[in-house]
């Protein structure tokens, strides 16, 4: 019985460590998709001048679920012909570790999209792409640093608790 409890505790602590680390992974993935999407927008807006709704609905991209869910919120706003609010964005981003400044930049971009001529849109997209790439770089460093660390920390905490129990 004691063995089973120890094993469960060890597994629970390891999972918690993994879950904490996973947030950094999700953040990095979200930002990677964001960078890819911004590059797609640059092409679609600059060259084919496709409507935003068509870009969002008709094109099939391999984005991860968290970014797809964010795009759905944005699509709903566009369908209602509304501009994306920071509140709507935050509601959708609660499960993702985007820092405050990152959320603000994402909001700025998505509330600006479609509101001006193609030249201004392209300029802005280039500007935001630089920001997002920096965020991604930072997220990459954090992921490398914390994903392994949290997993190890979780496992070690589990071992420590098991030793204490024993």
């Amino acid at each position: 019985m004691q063995f089973i409890i120890s094993l469960v505790l060890l597994m629970a602590c390891s999972y918690l460590g993994y879950a904490f680390g996973n947030f950094y992974k999700l953040r990095e993935q979200f930002l990677q998709d964001l960078v890819n999407f911004t590059q797609i927008l640059k092409t679609e807006i600059g060259f084919s001048k496709e409507h935003l709704l068509n870009i969002l609905k008709e094109k099939k991209y391999n984005f991860r679920p968290q970014f797809v869910s964010f795009l759905k919120t944005y699509t709903k706003c566009l369908e209602k012909e509304e501009i994306l609010t920071l509140e709507a964005l935050k509601t959708n981003l609660t499960s993702i570790y985007l820092e405050e400044k990152e959320q603000v930049e994402v909001h700025h971009l998505f509330s600006f999209l479609g509101t001006t001529d193609s030249m201004s849109q392209m300029e802005s997209l280039s500007h935001y792409l630089v920001f997002f790439e920096l965020f991604l770089k930072d997220a990459n460093v954090q992921k490398k640093k914390y994903v392994g660390a949290y997993s190890k920390l979780g496992f070690l905490t589990g071992v420590f608790i098991v030793i204490l129990l024993l």
């Binding site: 807006i45 001048k49 496709e50 409507h51 935003l52 709704l53 566009l78 012909e81 501009i83 999209l113 479609g114 509101t115 001006t116 001529d117 193609s118 030249m119 201004s120 849109q121």
Partner: protein
């Protein structure tokens, strides 16, 4: 008609108005919203149309920006080329004329900023409105080169659109090409005509001269229809098509055939007798009053003044 892009207060005011009776809506910054119903301008007060309002709905900068944003389905950039020319065509062929500060660089328009006025013109598709003049335009199995003359808002484009439709009814084997520079003739949205133009090929946007050359090369048309010829390059394009043996039906702004003769650029066209028929429209009695159909020597060939019933009243 799809008025989804209009502010809610305006939409509510228009509910009780017969859709076809609305000619245009004018939004001027800090001025009352004006709705032209059958030629009479109304203001909006408490979501109702009134002739003279004490507390009328005024136009704000935000209102103008929202109209443009919504009319472009949230993608203003997709209409950059149209906006540079001062308009935007939205669903149903509704044309939104835009006034503001023109941003230029090296003689080229980059954009229009600080939009100050919007004029929303509601297109009126009037099937068979060209019937009173159509017999005068027929020459054997084709049509005479025809120029429709009228002041703005007298129904030139509506007439031209119906001529395109009548041509395909008259002879379906005629290759008709429409050069729709401002998307007004076909009211096309995403390449799909929203108005009845019969069986015709359409080139949307672009410049007349390029479109004439490209259209003649690629579509081998027998008749070309185009709206509002005004500049030297437009005249050159017409002459190019004329020399290629293509029939042309075009429109231009002038109040009468006499005024047309005074236009510098048109002198060559008139001297070379490019056009064999001139149709003069006016607003004298109602929108679309046919003042006369004239031959190449400006001799009136129709018997009396008639109405082509463009006013829909």
């Amino acid at each position: 008609m799809n008025f989804a892009f209009l502010p809610i207060e305006v939409k509510e005011a228009l509910i009780e108005t017969v859709e076809n009776h609305i000619y245009e809506l004018r939004f001027r910054l800090n001025q009352p919203v004006l709705v032209n119903v059958k030629g009479v301008f109304y203001e909006i007060e408490k979501n109702k149309l009134v002739l003279k309002a004490n507390n009328s709905l005024k136009v704000s900068k935000q209102m103008l920006e929202n109209i443009i944003f919504k009319a472009s389905s949230g993608s203003v950039y997709a209409y950059t080329e149209q906006i540079k020319q001062g308009f935007l065509t939205t669903l149903g062929g509704v044309r939104i004329g835009i006034c503001g500060e023109v941003v230029m660089e090296q003689d080229k328009v980059l954009h229009i900023k600080n939009i100050s006025s919007i004029n929303i013109r509601i297109p009126h598709e009037v099937i068979n409105c060209a019937l009173p003049i159509f017999p005068y335009l027929i020459e054997n199995k084709s049509l005479y080169n025809t120029l429709i003359i009228s002041p703005p808002g007298a129904g030139k484009t509506t007439m031209l659109r119906d001529i395109a439709y009548q041509i395909s009814k008259f002879n379906t084997s005629i290759n008709t090409l429409i050069l729709d520079e401002r998307y007004e003739i076909s009211g096309s949205v995403n390449g799909v005509p929203q108005l009845n133009i019969g069986q015709a090929d359409i080139i949307l946007g672009g410049k007349k001269q390029q479109n004439f050359e490209a259209g003649i090369r690629s579509m081998s048309p027998q008749i070309i229809l185009c709206d509002e010829i005004a500049t030297k390059s437009d005249i050159e394009a017409i002459l190019y098509a004329f020399r290629c043996g293509i029939r042309i039906i075009a429109t231009t702004h002038a109040s009468s055939e006499t005024e047309l003769k005074t236009k510098h650029y048109f002198k060559t066209l008139l001297q070379k007798k490019v056009f064999n028929r001139f149709v003069v429209l006016s607003n004298n009695y109602k929108v679309g009053t046919i003042e006369g159909v004239y031959d190449a020597n400006f001799k009136k060939i129709n018997k009396e003044k008639s109405l082509c019933n463009l006013s829909l009243v």
